[in-house]
Symmetry: C2
Subunit: 202 residues, 2 copies
Amino acid sequence: MDLPRSLKKLIDSFERLPGIGPKTAQRLTFYLLHVPQSHLDEFAENLEKLKEKTVLCSICFNVAESDPCTVCADRNREKSLVCVVEQPLDVLAIEKTGKYRGVYHVLHGAISPLNNIGPDELYIKDLLKRLNNRTVPIKEIILATNPNMEGEATAMYLVKQIKKKNKKIKITRLGQGLPTGADLEYADEITLSRALEGRKEY
Amino acid sequence: MDLPRSLKKLIDSFERLPGIGPKTAQRLTFYLLHVPQSHLDEFAENLEKLKEKTVLCSICFNVAESDPCTVCADRNREKSLVCVVEQPLDVLAIEKTGKYRGVYHVLHGAISPLNNIGPDELYIKDLLKRLNNRTVPIKEIILATNPNMEGEATAMYLVKQIKKKNKKIKITRLGQGLPTGADLEYADEITLSRALEGRKEY
């Protein structure tokens, strides 16, 4: 027995998504068979129009509906404080804390020689250009790339490049240590040594 | 910062799928932002046309492109042997073994009072109707519902109903025991007792 072609095609489409294997793709497709046609049409429309209505902000390169994005256009945001992140989702995560009042710069990735991603594939040049803006001088850059190999390498590279351009800018990195709710017993050595280094006095 | 509306909508669509939570929905949506528009259009088309080109086979109620389906229409299949399964995916799993030459009957679910699914919500009446077919009398019915609470209850109910209609039909249930590659040490008690009951002589 062969699966009907329309099912096979949709299974293929789902399988192309990251983290979705053949079994999950089958399960999702068969689930959608029981869903009203209007739901399918809506889903399809949302897919087609995904990119039509989004642009990259020409200042921070975040995904947005308008250019500049709502954050860059917001007068109450501190333009002298720039937080550099790898992905738009990272911006979302930081915004959810409600503790950050500066602006962002989205690199759209991290330096990863194994995956053929060098500095030129990221929006690094555009970040360095922002340093030249004399009307709103940048005082501090927070490097909020991921605390893994690629993210650390990217941060190191950025520190070098930023210092070449402008030695007065304060460059910081997000604090590292134990995540809230964690168990000391199960923490890995690197996290624990970073937590010791970064200990705070009462 | 708010996400662009087109992204939010697609995230919503993904979140409605079973087993996909808000984080996965976000990840998939942002992944699709980097995909060529032609891929998105193809995905959308596959969704829209999913149900247009599929029908339920009027004999076995499997999802198919034609009625009757390729299995029911195949002259080489033994029509006197019927395997009863819960879902179309179960048919696929059995077909992959290459060991089954009979036909199927898809119930589209299992009896589950907690979810308000009684015998009338399933294609059980249609199975009982097939027993009356005098031109191709059924000799054996294999109950291949899932070996869990709902599947077992459905099998029990089917045995009763089939025996009421026709006492001559042989009714069997798929063998239960240890799955290949399993570890005796980690097998649960029920599986292990079923394996003992179903032991085979050399």
